[in-house]
Symmetry: none
Subunit: 145 residues, 4 copies
Amino acid sequence: MTTVRPIRESDRDAWLTLWHGYNAFYRNDPTEAVTRAAFRRLCEGTDGFFGLVAEDGAGGLVGLTHAVFHPATWTTGTYCYLEDLFVSRGERGSGAGRLLIEGVYAEADRRGADRVYWHTQQYNAQARSLYDSVAHATSFVVYKR
Amino acid sequence: MTTVRPIRESDRDAWLTLWHGYNAFYRNDPTEAVTRAAFRRLCEGTDGFFGLVAEDGAGGLVGLTHAVFHPATWTTGTYCYLEDLFVSRGERGSGAGRLLIEGVYAEADRRGADRVYWHTQQYNAQARSLYDSVAHATSFVVYKR
Amino acid sequence: MTTVRPIRESDRDAWLTLWHGYNAFYRNDPTEAVTRAAFRRLCEGTDGFFGLVAEDGAGGLVGLTHAVFHPATWTTGTYCYLEDLFVSRGERGSGAGRLLIEGVYAEADRRGADRVYWHTQQYNAQARSLYDSVAHATSFVVYKR
Amino acid sequence: MTTVRPIRESDRDAWLTLWHGYNAFYRNDPTEAVTRAAFRRLCEGTDGFFGLVAEDGAGGLVGLTHAVFHPATWTTGTYCYLEDLFVSRGERGSGAGRLLIEGVYAEADRRGADRVYWHTQQYNAQARSLYDSVAHATSFVVYKR
């Protein structure tokens, strides 16, 4: 059975494998410094970072999600930007993705966040199929310098 | 001639008019507390807030933009989320919107931000026409709980 | 002040003006028989039809909405298809459109409908700006033989 | 060779398998009562329901489609809402989907329906590839409360 829990220091090696798989999906190539800083802040919960991993019945890590809580002009509270989500290929459809998102929702509720949002490629059918069942597609698209 | 400069305390009344016009556009109805907290943080530059106004030749305010600099997992630096942009109806097409975005770019460069990004409604033709000339539409859409 | 109430027989002339304006918007040209049947069923509430009009302070009609309640395979109850919505040009932005939608929501709740849904052109910025504030854009597009 | 015929009472078990596969695709979890009511109305043709199954050469069911005929304001006749369509994974590309849609078209013609329409996720490339060859994508998107 898949369960979800906060990332901890001892997850480093298993997390790295997932993190590299995630980055490969987006053809992103983070520097060592970026990877180290991300993991450290996720473990410590600094800079608004919050991270969860999904664990299978045998204790292996099969997914991760990272969120960043940040201020916003439309609230005196906080927004939760669900920045990263990844489930290893063999585990897709196992429910791990949904559990990870629900874990972020629970933390966002705990902190009283006014919004949980994320970005996804409009053509990513597999991901959107899940997202459509736990959230709402909006009319908004993302622009980038 | 339109010019752009940081928001300051003495802009309060003129800024409020623009802020309410901006919120009306999105049919958003911020509380007094949200409005006050937004203005204060924009003037003080706290919580990662950064705000600019566009001034016409006579010193009247014709536009505003607010950005929030926040940490992100893909960088040891910062991302710049251009959260709000508004130009009063009569001034659209005057170049104020472009100047405001370029002002945010300049500040993002000064702080070494790795990214400047924003959200816009896919059907907002007037806004996208400007954005396409100063930035890139991405394939990403926004999901929201 | 704009108010909303069910369509009634005595609205015929004013309703016709709105109905023709609405059809002109979609370049639809209903036959007399279709128009008569629509009005009759809206007044009688037969065939699952439900209709509301928006009235201004002087008792003039400024908007209409028609919904059809129909069975669906995913429910033992009913779905509410909000088929038509129109506000006369001069009254747009007056809040009439929102009141009409909320009136349909109230009736859908009264009947225990499992869903209220409608279709809109993806490029209809004015309409979507309203819809985004009272409902959710979905990932679904409409196909037609 | 794949053929198409109306759903009948003796299809119950094979239909259930397809129905559950279809619902799993949309991460929908219908109650027993909803499933029973859907099957009954499809067999009886009540509530405007109409259902077809696709049968392979050996008599096994490989696909289903359900339509709901409902009144609409733009017609004195009926609209045909093609609500559900599913082909089991191994049979995709076999032509079963097209046969099912054509079977619905034939029934819609028999009843003089003015329109056959359906909804699909904009990112469902496999489905849209078929739909584009037998129907028209419209400019309409679906909003939902």
